[in-house]
Symmetry: C2
């Protein structure tokens, strides 16, 4: 059922006409959804939730005491807003924390470089490492280069990220964040530096999780801000450049993280699940990543409570823990709730900042796409276009999506998202109140429709066979 990119595009083009004849959302539910949109656009609840989280907790590194305070905040916030069945589901994660990071061009032009360790990186020796820079234009160029020894050298992968509305530039650029240390390790390099995975031109290095591979030397890795990567590139145009890098990190073993869960109970045991992730990287206060997602989904559910009508299905809101460091909360949720996943009608996570939603994407059974079209029609006045049937549902939906739960992505405009993503600059002032309200409106309407429509979004076996 996983469509390829091309077939998805073809399908999305034919989706609307196919659906036009049907009428899946009752007039009553449709009118309630429109009312929710109206209420949400006048509400500041979502915005205030982000303000509260980012101010009263601040940065929330996975597994840290701050993340634990975030869970306390989440429980209190859910209760304050009137949610039911508020609880924390704990799990363990490997903990990693940055302690110190510094870099310098040693020669020929001594000066500081602004760097940040990637999440999961090992430390350098305490005195740092010093080596000649070997630059590669892209990760692919690095992979394609002869397997010569880079002993005593520091690798610099200078790959740029493309700014896009849909965030597709990230998928390409993030491979260098995941893969550069492995390639450097294969060649025995001292350390690796990457141009930050980001689209801004400010002096903020972007952090983010990296990976090592079994049996390959673990080399320390850090990101340079874009201006520092430019500087290193300019220095290299003049000849050989030596850099000193010192990273100190702490990996003391396991720590507790957890998902904070709350509900608006419905009349059945079926579940519509939405949420965002509670953890953030340590550098900023996690406003766009992912305070916004928390604010949007909590805000939308609050609108539904304010509507004063009991939904058919239970609406569950999850603040996932430890997303940034490897989807630990998502995996724990899928494991802990595996017996009720067949009752999960649909899921959606908001984890792409606070930009306006411009497209309604689904991953439904193909015979259920008429329902997607029906929902999109209600969302259209918010400026939301129909989208393909290849939605991920957001990072924390991936495990349950892989286990068969239909998902939607209310796709946000990510044009500016990677200017802030994983930097110190991810702070509350970057959130636009009107954009937040549009997001809340779309989620509230979508959730209300999903919770009150007849039937589900899974492919029916017969219809599925017929369409294949």
């Amino acid at each position: 059922m996983r469509l390829t990119g091309i077939s998805a595009v073809i399908f999305s083009l034919t989706m609307i006409p196919l659906a036009a004849a049907e009428d899946y959302v009752s007039e009553k539910v449709e009118s309630e959804a429109r009312k929710l949109i109206e209420m949400s656009l006048e509400s500041t609840t979502g915005y205030e939730v982000v303000e509260s989280l980012t101010t009263e907790v601040g940065a929330r590194l996975a597994g840290s005491e701050a993340e634990a305070r975030g869970r306390e905040w989440g429980v209190a916030k859910f209760k304050e807003l009137g949610f039911k069945n508020v609880r924390v589901e704990e799990f363990k994660i490997p903990y990693w924390e940055r302690k110190f990071e510094e870099a310098e061009i040693v020669s020929p032009f001594p000066q500081k470089l602004l760097v940040t360790a990637l999440g999961g990186s090992v430390a350098t020796p305490v005195e740092g490492v010093e080596g000649e820079i070997v630059r590669f234009e892209t990760l692919q160029a690095f992979k394609d280069a002869p397997m010569d020894s880079l002993e005593g050298k520091i690798v610099f992968v200078d790959e740029y990220m493309t700014r896009t509305q849909d965030g597709s530039g990230y998928g390409v650029a993030v491979q260098k964040r995941s893969g550069a240390a492995i390639e450097a390790g294969k060649r025995g390099a001292l350390a690796a530096l990457i141009r930050s995975v980001g689209t801004d031109t400010h002096r903020f290095p972007h952090t983010g999780q990296m990976r090592y591979a079994d049996g390959i030397k673990q080399v320390p890795i850090a990101a340079l801000s874009a201006p520092d990567a430019d500087q290193l590139q300019r220095a290299l145009k003049r000849g050989s450049v030596k850099v000193w890098l010192a990273l100190d990190v702490e990996s003391p073993g396991e720590r507790t993280s957890g998902n904070v869960i709350a509900e608006i109970p419905g009349r059945t045991d079926e579940i519509v699940v939405i949420g965002g992730h509670l953890d953030s990287w340590d550098l900023g206060t996690g406003a766009v990543d992912d305070g916004a997602g928390i604010g949007i989904t909590v805000g939308a559910a609050k609108m539904i409570m304010d509507l004063g009508k009991k939904p058919q299905r239970t609406i569950r809101v999850v603040m996932f823990g430890a997303e940034e460091v490897g989807l630990y909360g998502a995996k724990a949720y899928a494991e802990m709730h595996k017996d009720e996943l067949s009752k999960h009608i649909v899921g959606a996570e908001s984890d792409f900042g606070s930009g306006r939603i411009w497209r309604f994407e689904t991953r439904f059974g193909e015979d259920k796409l008429g329902k997607a079209a029906e929902m999109q029609k209600i969302l259209a006045p918010l400026g939301i276009a129909p989208g393909p049937n290849t939605a991920s549902g957001g990072p924390d939906m991936i495990p349950i999506s892989q286990m068969g739960v239909p998902v939607v992505t209310l796709k946000q405009n990510g044009w500016d998202y990677f200017d802030l993503h994983h930097t110190p600059d991810d702070t509350f002032d970057k959130i636009d109140q009107a954009d937040m309200a549009q997001n809340v409106a779309a989620y509230a309407a979508f959730v209300w429709m999903a919770a009150n429509m007849d039937g589900d979004f899974r492919a029916t076996p017969a219809a599925n066979e017929a369409s294949e």
Copy 2:
């Protein structure tokens, strides 16, 4: 002769008609000036000079080894470009250097705050200081508050800076940077924090020189980035807030700084002096402040050399040292050259970034304003309007202006300047090549006219009497 603001405006309105009848610039010089504009707009020399300085030297804190490397760079660059009489004029300055800076909200919401020590601040004790925050909306509100003891407290002056084209917001906002530590000292506070003197919303605290006053307790002072000031403000809205601040600085006494000077010799011993300042703050690489000014003035003089004609008057280009920490280079220049200041026909410093020049301001004898109008007419096609006769000439011109040397300010658009000013984000990528070329063109044309016009810009005693 120092006009007040209002009389200057009135004067500037009447300047053009008065001047229209005269013709101070010969047709030959006018045509050469136009040729220089044409050449400059096609040249990248000024831009390349900034690239070279910011890459090959980087940050250049006054009195540091990096500033000394900057002087070596300056000498080499002047020689490479064909300037004559290249030399360094050294002087001593009190040295100050930042070592360490960190701050945290201790309670009720533990989290980091991003701060930077202001230049000249004393250190805190090594364990830092911790105290309750007392916030003042503005420096004036702080001054106006009852002289109650603030022992054990940390003062927070949360004054905003207004974004303006002409930089006038800085004059107001910078008073808090100069004055907050003195007011805090009078009341015995532990430390002082200010909202950065800046117009951006990024997580960069802005440094800059502060002052103490004799006989008043010296309290350590740091700037918060705008998002951190916002955060502290939000926390304070919820009640009492405790902050911990640790600053370490080094003030080991005197160090050497210097002005780097070069010339295009003329036929007379009269001098037209232009320049920028070579030192920068330590956080960025000093691209807009003031690599740009170095690039613009060196680039303009290079255009004149490329014209291949010997000027009447000598054109002198000065890279001033130690501007940021108290105009030491400017004062040293005035002192070392006091005997030839009567031969200084006019001076101009470029020290306001790389934005386009939009106004031609002078401080000439009132009877010489026809000459200003004539020059402005030649500059007008670059989008440069006539300005008032109250120019400062730029910070490093103040001492010689006060000693009677006429000055001009080729006023740049400073709309974005204070987004970058004194932050780590002041890097080469922020410089626009076309804007630089417009600046170089205006300087080249102005300098050529000033160096080749008959007569000077000082008030003639008789005319002066008549006009008063």
